[in-house]
C-alpha cells in the first residue's frame, strides 16, 4: 500500500477557489440577462469582450512573473464581468478595453496578483475611466432603445436620477420602474430587485457578509434621512438615494470582494459603516454625480489598518477575560 503523508485535518470542505469565484460569476449572470433585456445584444458583446481582454492580460502577466498556472482561476472573469455593468450601454468598445487593461495591469498584477491586491481592480479601472471621459461615462440611454452592435451610436443620451439629485432636482420616476430597472442608468446597477436577490444568494453561500451590508445600507439611510437632498421629502430622498447610482451594486460586489476587504467580521462591519458615510460625502460634495468607486478605493487603503486596530482591541479584551477567568479558579 502506498500511503501519502498529509497534515491534519484529513477531511476538507467541498468549496474551493473555483467555486468561490464561480458564486460571484453566477451572481453576475442575471444582471447581464436583465441588461440584454433592456439594452439589446450590445450588453452581452461588451461583457464578452471585457472578459476576454481581462483573462488574456491576466494570463500574460502571470507568465511574465513566472508563476505556474495550475488551474484556470476565475478572478479576472469576475473583474471583466463587473466593469461593463457599471458603464452605460452606449459606451464605445475601446473605453471598456482601456478600463480592463488599467484594472489588471496597474491595479491588480503589480501588487502581487490574486489575493494580494490592495485595491479593487474593477473599482480602479472604473475610476480611471470616470476621470478620463466623464462625459461618456455619465450619459446613459433610455431602456428599450435600439442600440447597434458596432458602429456609431445615434441614440439620445440622457442623464440618470443620480445627476438629477446632484443638481438639486427630484427625479420623477414610478416606484415599480425604479425597482425593476426601467430608468436610464448604468447597465447592471439599475435592477434593484435582482441585485437584492443576488445579495441574499451570496450571503447564504457565505461569500458576502450580511451584517456588513446592513451596516452600509443603514449608514446611507441615516445620512439620507437626516440630510435629505430633496428638500422636505425624507423618505423619498432615502428611496432615491438607495436606488440611484451604483450604491447597491457596490454593496454586493465591491464591499465583499475577498482580497481587498478586512478579514475579521467586526472589522468588516466598521469598514462598511465608514464606507457608507464616505460614499454619501462623495455624493454630496464630490465633483462627479456618483463617487462610490472613489470611496471604495479610499476605504481599501484603510482596510489593513482597521483590521490591525480591531485585532489589538479584541486581543486586549480577550486577555482581560482570560485573566478574570483564571483569577476565579
Amino acid at each position: 500500500m502506498k500511503l501519502t503523508h498529509r497534515f491534519p485535518p484529513h477531511i476538507r470542505s467541498r468549496e474551493n477557489n473555483v467555486t468561490v469565484m464561480g458564486d460571484a460569476v453566477l451572481a453576475l449572470l442575471p444582471l447581464y440577462f436583465m441588461a440584454c433585456f433592456f439594452y439589446g445584444p450590445r450588453a452581452a458583446a461588451l461583457g464578452i469582450l471585457s472578459v476576454l481582454v481581462c483573462f488574456v492580460s491576466d494570463l500574460l502577466c502571470q507568465k511574465l512573473a513566472g508563476r505556474k498556472i495550475g488551474v484556470i482561476d476565475l478572478s479576472p472573469v469576475v473583474t471583466g464581468l463587473i466593469i461593463p455593468l457599471l458603464l452605460p450601454a452606449s459606451i464605445p468598445y475601446s473605453i471598456v478595453v482601456v478600463a480592463d487593461l488599467f484594472a489588471i495591469l496597474v491595479i491588480k498584477q503589480p501588487f502581487g496578483g490574486l489575493g494580494q491586491n490592495i485595491f479593487n481592480p474593477a473599482a480602479g479601472g472604473l475610476a480611471f475611466v470616470t476621470i478620463t471621459w466623464p462625459n461618456l461615462v455619465f450619459r446613459y440611454t433610455a431602456p428599450f432603445e435600439k442600440l447597434p452592435l458596432f458602429g456609431e451610436i445615434t441614440a439620445r443620451l440622457v442623464a440618470s436620477p443620480a445627476y438629477q439629485l446632484k443638481m438639486g432636482g427630484i427625479p420623477y420616476r414610478d416606484f415599480t420602474d425604479m425597482l425593476f430597472g426601467n430608468f436610464p442608468g448604468p447597465m447592471g446597477a439599475t435592477n434593484i430587485l435582482v441585485l437584492a436577490t443576488c445579495l441574499i444568494f451570496l450571503v447564504v453561500r457565505k461569500s458576502a457578509n450580511g451584517k456588513a451590508a446592513l451596516a452600509f445600507l443603514g449608514t446611507v439611510t441615516v445620512f439620507a434621512f437626516v440630510f435629505p437632498r430633496i428638500d422636505g421629502a425624507r423618505l423619498q430622498s432615502v428611496f432615491y438615494e438607495l436606488c440611484s447610482g451604483i450604491l447597491l451594486f457596490g454593496v454586493v460586489f465591491f464591499l465583499n470582494d475577498p482580497a481587498t476587504s478586512p478579514k475579521r467580521e467586526a472589522s468588516k462591519i466598521i469598514y462598511a459603516a465608514i464606507a457608507g458615510a464616505v460614499t454619501m460625502l462623495y455624493r454630496y460634495f464630490g465633483g462627479f454625480e456618483e463617487g462610490m468607486v472613489f470611496a471604495i478605493l479610499l476605504m481599501n487603503a484603510f482596510a489593513w489598518g482597521i483590521d490591525m486596530c480591531c485585532e489589538q482591541w479584541i486581543s486586549r479584551e480577550r486577555r482581560k477575560r482570560l485573566e478574570k477567568k483564571s483569577e476565579k479558579l
Binding site: V98, V106, F128, T132
Partner: protein, 217 residues
C-alpha cells in the same frame, strides 16, 4: 567570466548617477518634481536646465567652502545660493516659451530645495575633491534629466497628443494621464523597470559565471 563581471562593475561605477544609482529611480530623490514637472516636454527641459544650474555649482561650493560654514547654517546657505542661481537662470528659461512659468507653477522654485542637491552635498561633497564633486553633480543631474525627459515625452504624447507644442499622430488620447495620480503610477512602473533591468543583467552575469565555472575555464 570574470572579465565580464569586471566590465559590468566598471561600467556601473562609471555611470554612477545615470544608470547605476539613478537619483530618481533608485534613490527616490526629487520625486514630486518628477511627478508634476513631467506633464510636458517644455517643463521637463526647463527643470533639467534648472537642475544642472543649481546642482553643479553648489557641489563645487560644498566641496571647497562647505567645511567652514557652521552646521546649522549650512543648508540655509546652499538653499539661498540655489535660489539666487535660479533667479539668474530664469531669463534663458523664459525664452523657451512665454507661458512656461505659469505651467511650471511652484515646481520651478522648488528646485532650490531639491533633495538631490541637499542629499549629495551632505553625504558626498564634503569629503571629496572639487573635481570629483563636480563630476558627481553632473552625473546626477544627467540622470535626473534623462528620466524626466523620457517620462515627459511619453506623458505628453499620450495625454495631450502634442510634442513640444506641436500636434502628433496618436491612436488614443487619455487626458487623465496628466493628473498627478498617473504620475505616481508611471514613476512606480519606471522604478520597477529599472530594477528589473538591473536584476536581469545581474542574473545573466551570474548565470554566465556559473556556466563558465562548470565548464572549467
Amino acid at each position: 567570466m570574470k572579465k565580464s563581471l569586471k566590465n559590468y562593475r566598471e561600467a556601473m561605477s562609471r555611470t554612477r548617477g545615470i544608470f547605476a544609482q539613478n537619483p530618481v529611480l533608485i534613490g527616490g530623490l526629487a520625486l514630486p518634481i518628477a511627478i508634476m514637472g513631467t506633464t510636458s516636454l517644455m517643463n521637463a527641459v526647463a527643470l533639467s536646465i534648472a537642475a544642472f544650474a543649481t546642482i553643479v555649482p553648489l557641489m563645487l561650493v560644498a566641496s571647497t567652502a562647505g567645511k567652514y560654514i557652521p552646521l546649522n547654517l549650512r543648508r540655509t546657505c546652499y538653499v539661498l545660493l540655489a535660489a539666487a542661481i535660479l533667479c539668474g537662470v530664469s531669463y534663458p528659461i523664459g525664452k523657451i516659451s512665454p507661458g512656461i512659468f505659469d505651467s511650471l507653477g511652484i515646481y520651478y522654485s522648488l528646485m532650490a530645495v531639491n533633495t538631490i542637491l541637499l542629499y549629495r552635498t551632505e553625504t558626498y561633497a564634503h569629503h571629496a575633491s572639487p573635481l570629483a564633486a563636480v563630476v558627481d553633480g553632473l552625473r546626477n543631474s544627467l540622470g535626473f534629466s534623462l528620466v524626466i525627459c523620457v517620462m515627459a515625452i511619453l506623458r505628453e504624447v499620450v495625454g495631450k497628443g502634442t510634442l513640444w507644442g506641436r500636434p502628433v499622430q496618436t491612436a488614443i488620447v487619455l487626458p487623465s494621464v496628466l493628473l498627478p495620480f498617473f504620475g505616481f503610477i508611471f514613476l512606480g512602473m519606471c522604478c520597477a523597470g529599472a530594477k528589473g533591468l538591473s536584476h536581469l543583467m545581474k542574473s545573466r552575469l551570474i548565470r554566465d559565471k556559473l556556466r563558465g565555472n562548470m565548464q572549467g575555464e
